[in-house]
């Protein structure tokens, strides 16, 4: 009876104190699954477990408890070879498998994951340390949704992705923060579009990827279509650089993303990077502060802040600053931190001690700078790899914790006064992954959302994800999108295009593009004489200048370059552009960009049509000029001019027809995909088709609101220079198209190295292409290069296909939830 008495006392205590009881999720099925594998896992290749002899091993641990879960192996290069060759073999049949059949496979995978949802969620929480509440309610349901959604894309590829085809073998490299979810973001679209995949999961978190591979095999996915190899970072590089890998899809740190960019530069591989972030949470005085507080919990304490899109930089309008801080501190006091399998926990473990240490160092650094660090929790475990939710105030814009990604549960808070100041603070970062805006004023919300330079902006919410909306960054947060139709372009290439495998040796990146300016040439100078009243007069000299900011400009260092006609005679001289000309042109392009982007699409269209109109007036003159320079027949020259006019009309037409779409996500509300301009784009034109090539490149960019700094055909630049009179008479605002003449690779070097060029399009040599891709890594700018291939510019697909639009925009998804109306 004594025992009963004790129980009754316990009951009394419970009613008195009303504490949370433990609500543990059982780990026995996961343990049994691990036991089935003898506690040790190999690679999963061709639907079989492969455990090569003599490999080093890695013990994966449960971060909540420190307990060893299982052993995985450290793969070596031959393992990568084996997986890639399995994938390559499977690609032959998988890429030819009809979309409907692929759809059935993806559908089956979704179904099988649902059958094993609980097991997957528990594995994920045990291996990563995240709360079971999150793996069960967020990670795994998103995985399922992604496969269903992409089963649909496989079904519809023939109609919705007409003109695009699969790429080949995709090497996917994913991080440890959402091991299963992020691998799915690569796997589902890759398979849907007919590619096969070799995945390297992160070292800390390999189990769920291996479990998924097993489940895919159970679901009937053919051997070799999806393979998993485990190993360290060096093995990741081996995968990325394997000659038979056609595309590298990466999510992870900016640093590793940059390494990958360099590693695959010039190889003809496609690359998409989803990197780090320092995403702002902008709270206006018109916000519902209580909702904002819960939103901030989702923004920065979700998954212990180990989220690339974590809202780690809170910007709050001054009138409500103190109130918000008070509410946040209050909220922190009852955030519960504990075991990842306890369902009553708000936060669980940090993935690894080294990550925890890095977080600690950041916070310590902030303390050293005199910042106020607030840490409090409702409960906190005595042991295990945990870090408390942290709010840092009294920081400056220069503080390390404000500028760098901490990747932990640490938010910094800064005040602002006006919306304009908020936007400046929000964009004062190298990153551009995401952000959120908090206000009950929908007009303000939209305006600020459009001004934040990031791939996703959430209004009155944060960290919502769905398969129907692409996720990915601006600036150093990378390029490419995971999810939505926009994400499919990362796993397809234009149907006409074959992968190029240029053989480029080592390049000296320091000396590439260096040039020695030309000196005067005698003997073959152009002699034009005009008879006036019987007297032979020398023709008036025509000096071509460069063109930027809407005006003709002499080169910064006035050197000239002789331009030869088809007859070998000097036809004229153009300015020799250098580093400073690039600097000046980029500056004016940026000055023009905001206004140009804001212009009504109708207005942009009118300007482009006007260019066509003015070009047609000078049709014969341009055609003759082309012939004199290239040696073609007049008919060919006329054809090129006509095609250029046609192309101006084509892109003029697209001015107001590619603004974006509404995405059909699971949100109750509207998710808007906006096709925003990329920014200022550097362009190097091909030598061939001096007029058509130039028009084909600048026009799609400009109609989508970009400004360009463009190097015309190095050999025949005069046609582009003749166009600037047409620009001036067509009301094109100054700074939208800026033309720099000279040595293509010399100017390309400085364009690519310029930190404020957002994308570089290069149509030149294979070496130059490699240089551009390699050099772009520093600020993770987008690139589009030819690898030395000479495009058939008159061809409609090659010269004005959908890829031109893809290259001219970046997708931003704005999430606007609803939910004001209820009941009567």
């Amino acid at each position: 009876m004594a025992g009963e008495h004790r129980n009754e006392n316990a009951l009394v205590d419970i009613f008195k104190n009303m504490p949370y009881g433990p609500a543990p999720e059982a780990d026995n099925v996961v343990k049994a699954w691990i036991n089935d594998h003898g506690g040790s896992f190999g690679h999963f290749i061709n639907n079989e477990w492969i455990k090569p002899e003599g490999r080093k091993t890695y013990q994966t641990k449960n971060p909540s408890t420190g307990q060893v879960l299982a052993t995985t192996i450290q793969g070596e290069e031959t393992d990568v070879d084996q997986a890639v060759s399995a994938s390559r073999k499977a690609y032959d049949s998988w890429s030819k498998t009809p979309g409907h059949i692929r759809a059935r496979h993806l559908y089956s995978i979704a179904r099988h994951i649902q059958k094993h949802m609980r097991l997957m969620s528990v594995v994920e929480s045990m291996d990563n340390g995240k709360t079971f509440r999150e793996s069960r309610d967020c990670d795994v349901p998103i995985v399922v949704r992604h496969f269903y959604h992409h089963a649909g894309w496989a079904q519809l590829m023939d109609t919705e992705m007409r003109g695009w085809k699969s790429i080949g073998v995709v090497g996917a490299i994913v991080p440890w923060n959402f091991p299963l979810m992020l691998l799915t973001w690569k796997l589902a679209p890759a398979l849907a579009m007919g590619n096969t995949v070799v995945l390297k999961p992160a070292t800390y978190t390999r189990l769920s990827a291996l479990l998924l591979a097993e489940i895919c095999a159970e679901a009937g996915l053919p051997p070799g279509v999806f393979n998993v190899v485990t190993g360290n970072g060096a093995m990741g590089s081996q995968l990325a650089t394997h000659p038979d890998v056609d595309k590298v899809a990466f999510t992870g740190s900016t640093e590793v993303g940059q390494k990958l960019r360099r590693a695959v530069a010039g190889t003809g591989k496609k690359l998409s990077l989803e990197l780090g972030g320092k995403s702002p949470v902008v709270v206006f005085e018109s916000a519902d502060l209580d909702s904002a507080v819960e939103g901030i919990v989702d923004a920065i304490w979700f998954n212990q802040g180990q989220v690339c899109s974590a809202g780690s930089k809170i910007l709050v309008q001054e009138p409500v600053k103190d109130q918000l801080i008070m509410k946040l501190k209050d909220r922190l006091k009852h955030l519960r931190v504990g075991d990842s399998l306890d369902k009553t926990m708000d936060m669980a473990a940090i993935v690894d001690e080294s990550q925890k240490k890095s977080i600690e160092e950041y916070v310590q650094h902030a303390r050293g700078e005199g910042a106020e660090v607030y840490q409090a929790t409702g409960c906190f475990p005595e042991s295990g790899c945990f870090y408390p939710p942290t709010l840092i105030t009294n920081v400056q814009t220069v503080s390390k914790v404000v500028r760098e990604e901490i990747f932990g549960p640490v938010a910094v808070l800064l005040p602002f006064r006006t919306a304009k100041e908020a936007i400046s603070l929000a964009n004062n970062t190298n990153y551009g992954l995401a952000g959120s805006v908090w206000t009950e004023n929908i007009g303000l919300a939209l305006e600020v959302s459009l001004n934040i330079k990031a791939g996703t902006v959430w209004v009155n919410c944060h960290n919502l994800f769905d398969a129907a909306a692409g996720f990915g960054g601006y600036k150093e947060s990378g390029y490419g999108r995971d999810g939505g139709k926009e994400g499919l372009f990362e796993y397809t290439r234009p149907s006409w295009e074959e992968r190029l495998r240029p053989e480029v040796g080592e390049i000296d990146y320091k000396t590439f593009g260096s040039t020695v300016q030309q000196r005067p040439t005698m003997g073959n100078a152009p002699i034009t004489e005009i008879p006036v009243d019987g007297i032979k007069m020398p023709g008036i000299d025509r000096t071509y200048k460069m063109y930027y900011g809407g005006a003709q400009k002499r080169p910064d260092a006035p050197y000239s370059r002789a331009i030869y006609g088809a007859d070998g005679q000097v036809f004229g001289h153009v300015g020799e552009g250098n580093r400073k000309d690039v600097r000046n042109a980029v500056e004016v392009a940026h000055n023009a960009a905001p206004g140009w982007g804001k212009r009504a699409a109708h207005n942009r269209a009118q300007i482009v049509y006007y260019m066509a109109e003015n070009l047609e007036i000078r049709r014969n003159e341009f055609a003759e000029r082309i012939c004199k320079l290239t040696g073609g027949k007049l008919g060919e020259g006329l054809e090129e001019v006509d095609l250029a006019i046609h192309r101006l009309f084509h892109w003029g037409a697209y001015c107001d027809k590619y603004g974006g779409t509404i995405q059909e996500t699971t949100l109750y509300g509207a998710t808007m995909k906006i096709h925003e301009p990329v920014g200022v784009i550097g362009m190097a034109c091909p030598d061939e088709y001096p007029l058509l090539g130039f028009v084909s490149l600048f026009a799609p960019a400009v109609i989508r609101g970009n400004c360009v700094v463009i190097v015309p055909s190095e050999k025949h630049p005069l046609l582009a220079l003749d166009l600037y009179q047409i620009f001036d008479t067509s009301d094109l605002p100054g700074g939208v198209v800026n033309i720099l003449t000279g040595d293509r690779d010399h100017i390309t070097k400085y364009l690519t190295e310029h930190q404020d060029i957002q994308s570089m399009w290069y149509f030149g040599s294979a070496e130059g292409s490699k240089f551009v891709e390699y050099t772009s890594a520093v600020n993770v700018k987008r690139t589009w290069v030819s690898y030395g291939y000479k495009r058939n510019w008159p061809d409609r697909e090659e010269g004005q296909g959908e890829e031109f639009l893809y290259q001219s925009v970046q997708c931003k998804n704005i999430w606007v939830p609803m939910g004001d109306i209820f009941a009567n």
Binding site: E8, L11, V12, F15, N17, M18, Y20, D290, H334, G819, D820, I821, F822, A823, N824
Partner: protein, 231 residues
């Protein structure tokens, strides 16, 4: 269980049953259980103010120590918050020492903003509790409504220091639902709001399920509904 001294928060009846109820509780030697009465033309409130006030006075006179009133929804939807305030304040005077719970009839208010405003106006006019609904509207105690109301309570507490109670009513039928509402209180308002002084659940059908869950907790077996006494 008897050691915990747990009882129902109150017995809630229509005004003309208050006297009878008081007698019954006396016979059961349970006079410590308060009698609550819905008054003011429950559930619609569509009777003249004079009648509504008298109804309160009569219920209090008969022994009710808690009065659940309904606000004037017409005024609320017209934006006449002053009118709502004035009426509730007069009702509070009529309650005298009895506790006043104000039913905002959230399901009739149309927007969450109105739910918040009604909650605030009632607290300003002297409500001891704010209550979601009569149980007769098409939408009653939902968690989003509850969230808005408890946040109003929190704000009012921060502004004035007064702790106002909360009573969700209508549609709460299972022990699990009750736990969810309790965690809402615990998370948003804290442990102070986890007792009968500041938290009530208006539910006639809930008790049986709570008993069934306790039965399961003790025996490991799920009880049939008919094994529990009807409530």
């Amino acid at each position: 269980m008897h050691m915990t001294g747990i009882t129902t928060g109150a017995v809630c009846v229509y005004p003309n049953r208050v006297a009878e109820c008081k007698k019954a509780l006396k016979e059961l030697q349970a006079t410590e259980i308060p009698i609550a009465s819905v008054a003011t033309g429950f559930p619609t409130g569509q009777v003249p103010l004079k009648t509504r006030i008298e109804e309160i006075e009569l219920a209090v006179m008969d022994g009710a120590s808690e009065i659940d009133i309904v606000i004037n929804r017409q005024y609320a939807l017209q934006g006449n918050w002053q009118g709502v305030y004035d009426e509730v304040q007069r009702m509070k005077v009529a309650c005298g020492d009895a506790q006043m719970k104000t039913i905002i009839a959230a399901g009739d208010l149309g927007t969450m903003a109105n739910v918040y405003k009604a909650s605030m106006v009632c607290m300003m006019a002297g409500a001891d509790f704010i209550k979601t609904s009569t149980g007769k509207e098409s939408v009653n105690a939902t968690l989003p409504i509850g969230l808005v109301m408890v946040r109003a309570i929190r704000k009012y507490h921060q502004m004035t220091g007064f702790k106002v109670g909360f009573k969700p009513a209508g549609g709460i039928r299972s022990a699990k639902d009750a736990c969810t509402w309790m965690s809402l209180m615990k998370e948003e308002l804290g442990d102070d709001w986890l007792n009968a002084q500041l938290f009530r659940i208006g539910a006639s059908g809930l008790l049986t399920d709570i008993e069934r869950q306790i039965f399961h907790h003790v025996t490991g077996r799920y009880a049939a509904g008919y094994e529990m006494p009807m409530s």
